[in-house]
């Protein structure tokens, strides 16, 4: 039996698609924001004077880099209710995705911190900056420049990874593709549409990153 394309048969499901795309986007944006926060903490732990903190930070990064996201999502999904914490599938997936992304984010931020020359810390120290002033005015602006591009890549990685949330009952784009595909037998069409949604989201992030970067760093490109 030959297969006839029929995007028309998908029309009734487009409303759900909008909601699904929104869920994908929201999940990814929140995960990125939260994982920047946690990743910064872990990166600072890895530069701490305390051996225990350094070890813990390193262990966290290695565990997250070497364990499948899907397994982490399942653990959060099944463990939290068992520990008495009831939450929506969305929030549970958000936690899993954030924990995972924070592992990579910590490495990105650490690389950014390492790229700040020791002379910067010395110059600031010689001028009597406190630790907070030093990070706020001298280190962070420089780290931000270094991690700006990798941050964009991580954003895209998180958008793609958020598709796994479908396995823990979040209604986002991948789960839209599967439910609509199996109820309408239109898997090719749903695949094409889902792929386009992801491609568009990724391209928006990508082009947005480049455009904003041009505006933010109007001043000389290479300053070292």
């Amino acid at each position: 039996m030959p297969y006839y394309f029929s995007f028309r048969s998908i029309y009734p499901y487009l409303g759900d698609l909008a909601a699904a795309a929104q869920a994908t986007l929201l999940l990814s944006v929140l995960a990125i924001v939260l994982s920047v926060a946690i990743g910064s903490g872990v990166a600072l732990m890895r530069r701490s004077d305390s051996r225990l903190l350094r070890f813990t930070g390193g262990l966290y990064v290695e565990v997250m880099r070497n364990t499948p996201l899907l397994v982490i999502l399942y653990i959060v999904y099944f463990a939290l209710p068992q520990l008495g914490l009831r939450m929506s599938p969305f929030n549970s997936a958000l936690i899993g995705l954030t924990l995972n992304s924070a592992g990579y984010m910590a490495e990105i931020i650490r690389a950014g911190l390492v790229a700040v020359p020791p002379g910067q810390f010395e110059a600031a120290a010689s001028q009597g900056f406190t630790r907070v002033q030093l990070y706020r005015h001298i280190v962070l602006p420089q780290v931000f420049r270094t991690i700006y591009a990798p941050l964009g890549n991580q954003f895209i990685a998180v958008i793609l990874a958020s598709s796994l949330a479908s396995a823990v009952a979040v209604e986002e784009v991948a789960s839209w593709m599967q439910t609509v595909g199996s109820s309408s037998f239109r898997f090719f069409e749903t695949f094409v549409i889902a792929a386009v949604v992801y491609l568009v989201l990724c391209q928006i992030v990508n082009l947005g990153r480049i455009a904003i970067g041009r505006w933010l760093f109007r001043q000389p490109e290479a300053y070292r």
């Binding site: 001028q127 009597g128 420089q142 000389p220 070292r224």
Partner: protein, 248 residues
């Protein structure tokens, strides 16, 4: 009677089992320009870095304006706010313009009013002859220009003493002169300066005292011209002759 700004009292510094400073004692009065010379690796820079606590000391004492410098204590921040330091590699903040580099510490660290600071900063740029470069970024400037900005940055907080850590060693030969010229002006103003340098000529012309360090100890110190003309110790004699041979 002059005021004692800085007093080194049997300062000992070790890196692992290597002793870098082996009981250094000397005193710096207000208005003095003390030039530290000696073979590389003898702890001249380290001595300078101990003054504002960038290095910790293992023995002895450093008194700045009568109080012991303790690198690990919170009080070190107050010491640093009264000291200006100029580094071999400038260490300008690359994400800020020259003007912003100079203004950052007075505004952020000392909580001064932006307007006042900017006015003073512009004056400093005039002094280091860089008024035309205030909006340039460090990456857009030559080494000599960057070092002059670094001097302006150190002056911006009205320090009681200036520490120069080999300020011309990383410069192209043609820009060394412009930095030394600025330092000469500062000397004329009567600022207290500690200078680690290989520029023997500068030390002789501008310095009020020359200190020759070797093997972590002060081997000889005195009037720069007299020392240059007739070093008392054998080691200083040997060092000065290699230096002047290399200069010709």
């Amino acid at each position: 009677m002059t005021d004692t700004v800085l007093k080194f009292d049997h300062v000992v510094k070790r890196f692992g089992d290597r002793t870098i400073l082996d009981g250094v004692s000397t005193t710096v009065q207000a208005g003095e320009i003390v030039c530290f010379i000696g073979p590389s690796g003898t702890g001249k820079s380290t001595l300078l870095r101990c003054v504002n606590g960038l290095e910790t000391i293992e023995g002895g004492n450093i008194l700045f304006e009568g109080k012991a410098v303790q690198a690990k204590q919170r009080s070190i921040i107050d010491v640093r706010r009264r000291i200006g330091m100029i580094f071999q590699h400038f260490n300008l903040y690359p994400h800020l313009t020259a003007l912003e580099n100079v203004m950052l510490a007075p505004v952020v660290v000392h909580g001064e009013d932006r307007k006042t600071v900017e006015e003073r900063a512009r004056g400093l740029f005039e002094k280091v002859r860089l008024s035309h470069r205030i909006n340039a970024y460090p990456a857009q400037m030559s080494g000599g220009e960057q070092q002059r900005v670094a001097i302006a940055r150190a002056l911006a907080t009205n320090p009681h003493i200036l520490l120069f850590d080999e300020p011309t060693s990383a410069l192209d030969p043609e820009t060394v002169g412009e930095v030394l010229a600025v330092m000469r002006d500062l000397a004329v103003e009567g600022r207290t300066m500690l200078v680690v340098t290989h520029e023997i000529r500068f030390a002789a012309d501008v310095g009020t005292r020359m200190v020759f360090l070797d093997g972590g100890k002060i081997v000889e110190e005195g009037n720069p011209r007299e020392m240059l003309a007739a070093p008392k110790s054998e080691r200083a004699k040997r060092f000065l002759s290699t230096i002047s041979n290399a200069a010709h």
